[in-house]
């Protein structure tokens, strides 16, 4: 009898531990600060998510350590790096965490997603926390990106700019001119002619695709803006007549030629340019410059982005830091947010990660951004940058735009494809509007 009782107790314990371990799986990965709070009553635990960006991780880790040292005994910031993959894995994770109510206190997000996150209440407005001095110091492009309906929702971690990289050896062999200033930038047609001249079966003329997600709208939107073909109306509410305007269709056709004539690969390897398998690289960001040293055979050069119309336009906008709706103590979270995005931080992200700082003061007494090729990035950012469209349906726009451009690059008719895109985006916007009522 005793044996039996023991046995049943044992089986109960087993079943209970199984059930508990399963429940534990759920709460163990919960990044909310609640569970951590119990560990120590005096130290406030804060959590933050950031994308797994190889170039930026050392700098971010250093600033997290600095914060924890500065506020020792008061706050402790825990950071989790989440892979983004080659498309939208980070955003998928945020979506599901948002609906489950388990977002971290501090949520890093890619800038153009801000309107969408703000409109859906994933991040909270932080205008009241930000001092005039701090606001004054932000780069105009960053401030614009971080504002939705007159409220500031996030502070930029860093900025980003694409440059045009080329293989110096090949360019010297062919005697191509190198633009000296933005007005002198290559035209897309010129780039096409150069690509045609240098492309061989082994070496692609140019690498255009950086990834098949956000990278497409980030990398390609400058050409559309340069051709006076904004992707959406200024208030972000209309795509018809914009993304499928004649100028837009023309730009898409010009880009299409690179692929249909096999001057650019539709499936480039991540380091196609660095490996010497592409003579030019049209997208990317300044973070890659630091990584060029890993490729000793690469004889690289950089210049301004090409233009599709008569003036050069630069892309901009990068990761920014907000406070999530699930944060229990926004006052404390802001202390960490302020620290992680202050002038010293954003400067360090530039020094170590190679991304342009998001604050004006970070450029003062900072020789890096006056040196080649960073000076061109700075010039583009300060003088020619246009952020990606601001719309609450940005997530749909980004992925549909990527899909449409890939279709065009693999031979679809540009006009037809862009018409379909315009209809899709407008329908999505209408649905969004009606669901907000």
């Amino acid at each position: 009898m005793i044996m039996k009782k023991r046995k049943s107790a044992l089986s109960f314990a087993l079943a209970a531990s199984m059930a508990l371990s399963l429940l534990g799986c759920g709460s163990g990965s919960t990044p909310s600060s609640e569970s951590a709070k119990d560990n120590s009553k005096s130290v406030k635990e804060l959590t933050m998510w950031y994308q797994e960006n190889r170039a930026m991780i050392p700098a971010i880790e250093q600033r997290v350590a600095d914060f924890n040292k500065t506020y020792e005994g008061q706050y402790h910031l825990n950071i989790e790096f989440i892979p983004r993959g080659s498309s939208y894995a980070y955003e998928d994770k945020v979506n599901s965490a948002a609906s489950a109510g388990i977002l971290p206190d501090l949520l890093a997000l890619d800038g153009p997603n801000l309107s969408n996150y703000a409109a859906n209440g994933i991040i909270i407005p932080i205008t009241d926390y930000i001092s005039d001095e701090s606001k004054e110091d932000m780069l105009p492009s960053s401030l614009l990106q971080n504002t939705y309906q007159n409220q500031i929702y996030a502070v930029s971690i860093n900025e980003a700019v694409s440059l045009f990289y080329y293989d110096k050896t090949i360019f010297e062999e062919h005697g191509f001119r190198i633009p000296e200033n933005p007005d002198d930038a290559y035209t897309l047609d010129e780039v096409y002619e150069m690509a045609k001249e240098v492309a061989t079966p082994e070496v692609a003329g140019i690498k255009i695709i950086m990834d098949k997600g956000e990278g497409l709208i980030y990398g390609l939107s400058p050409f559309f803006y340069s051709a006076d073909a904004p992707l959406l109306s200024e208030d972000g509410s209309k795509a018809e007549g914009y993304v499928n305007s004649p100028a837009s269709v023309e730009t898409a056709s010009v880009l299409q030629r690179f692929f249909t004539e096999k001057l650019a690969n539709i499936d480039p390897t991540p380091t196609e340019y660095q490996d010497g398998k592409a003579a030019m690289w049209i997208a990317g960001n300044t973070g890659v410059i630091k990584q060029f040293k890993d490729f000793p055979d690469l004889n690289w050069g950089a210049t301004y982005l090409p233009k599709a119309g008569d003036h050069m336009v630069s892309n901009c906008g990068s990761w920014t830091l907000g406070i999530s709706k699930d944060c229990k103590d926004p006052d404390s979270a802001y202390v960490a947010l302020e620290f992680m995005t202050n002038s010293d931080s954003t400067r360090l992200y530039g020094d170590l990660g190679g991304y342009p700082p998001a604050r004006k003061s970070a450029y003062e007494n900072n020789s890096l951004w006056d040196e080649y090729p960073y000076n061109m990035a700075k010039e583009q950012l300060f003088e020619a940058a246009i952020p990606r469209p601001k719309t609450p349906v940005y997530t749909v726009l980004s992925s549909k735009f990527a899909e449409t451009m890939l279709d065009i690059f693999t031979g679809s008719d540009p006009k037809e494809s862009l018409d379909a895109l315009a209809i899709y985006i407008d329908e999505e916007y209408a649905r969004f509007q009606s669901s907000m009522k």
Partner: protein
């Protein structure tokens, strides 16, 4: 006896809870959500909209394309994969020396996860002959290069080819077990009666393995209907939505576009289709 029942409940309790939570409850919720305008990010604002999602679905060309693509995939991949598996099973059936190596070799693709396989095949299918293995072989043989995943005409067939290659080893193992369960005596008796190899195959092997075959066809069909990883990793559903499948469309609407209500409607249709197909297959196979 009662005590024994008591134990039985006790042991199935953890499994039952999981099943209820993640299958039954999830299915009921999906059914309810399919009648709602439900943004994943704003669950508090979800509202009842009747059959609007379903009406929209049947006008949605992307959904209809996804449905067509999914059926196309299943119709082609099932006979191809099962046929391949059956062929392999017949090949590795004999207990000759070293046959284990072949059995493991055919089974080995399955050991690696589909995500890894899909990425590898993206390299193999790369349209550039200097980067893609298959196109490099074509170039050496003097054949023109093929765009594989990057052309709407070939993308789905490329996925079918690699999916069958990946999955056939598993069905081979099941069919092999079925083949080995057929008593040797039957073949001996048939030989004495003068039956040739073909007759033995038609009158002994096929009837002997029928039940296993029904199972294999059904499982392959259901898993074919669930095609997701390959388009997700290899093509993002393109080009021109030629590899958009029901589950990928469901994921995209639900998690990327956050239209949970609409995605739930897709999932309900998907459920009905899969249940319909499996009962259909069962009936046809039984009738024979």
């Amino acid at each position: 006896m009662r005590r024994k029942q008591h134990y039985a409940w006790f042991f199935i309790f953890p499994g039952l809870i999981l099943l209820l939570m993640f299958t039954v409850l999830a299915a009921i919720l999906a059914f309810c959500f399919s009648f709602m305008d439900f943004n994943l990010l704003r669950p508090q604002d979800a509202s009842f909209i009747g059959a609007d999602n379903y009406i929209r679905l049947f006008k949605d060309t992307s959904f209809l394309k996804a449905m067509k693509n999914t059926f196309y995939f299943a119709v082609i991949v099932v006979p191809y994969q099962v046929g391949l598996a059956f062929g392999l099973a017949l090949l590795v059936r004999e207990n000759v020396k070293g046959i284990g190596i072949f059995r493991s070799a055919y089974f080995s693709p399955l050991v690696t996860s589909m995500s890894v396989i899909a990425i590898l095949w993206t390299f193999i299918y790369n349209p550039n002959p200097t980067q893609g293995l298959l196109n490099a072989v074509f170039a050496k043989a003097g054949l023109p290069s093929c765009d594989f995943l990057r052309s709407a005409d070939t993308a789905m067939n490329s996925i079918i080819f690699m999916s069958g290659w990946h999955g056939a080893g598993y069905q081979m193992m099941i069919l092999l077990a079925g083949l080995q369960a057929i008593p040797e005596d039957l073949y001996e008796a048939a030989s004495i009666d003068g039956a040739g190899a073909i007759k033995k195959f038609v009158y002994i092997t096929v009837p002997g393995i029928k039940n296993v075959l029904v199972f294999v066809v059904m499982m392959t069909t259901i898993s074919a209907m669930k095609l997701f990883t390959q388009p997700y990793i290899m093509t993002n559903g393109g080009p021109k939505e030629s590899t958009m499948t029901l589950t990928y469309y469901l994921y995209r609407q639900g998690f990327q576009y956050r239209n949970m209500g609409y995605a739930s409607a897709v999932s309900v249709i998907f459920f009905v289709v899969v249940v319909g197909i499996s009962t259909g297959i069962k009936k046809i196979m039984k009738a024979r």
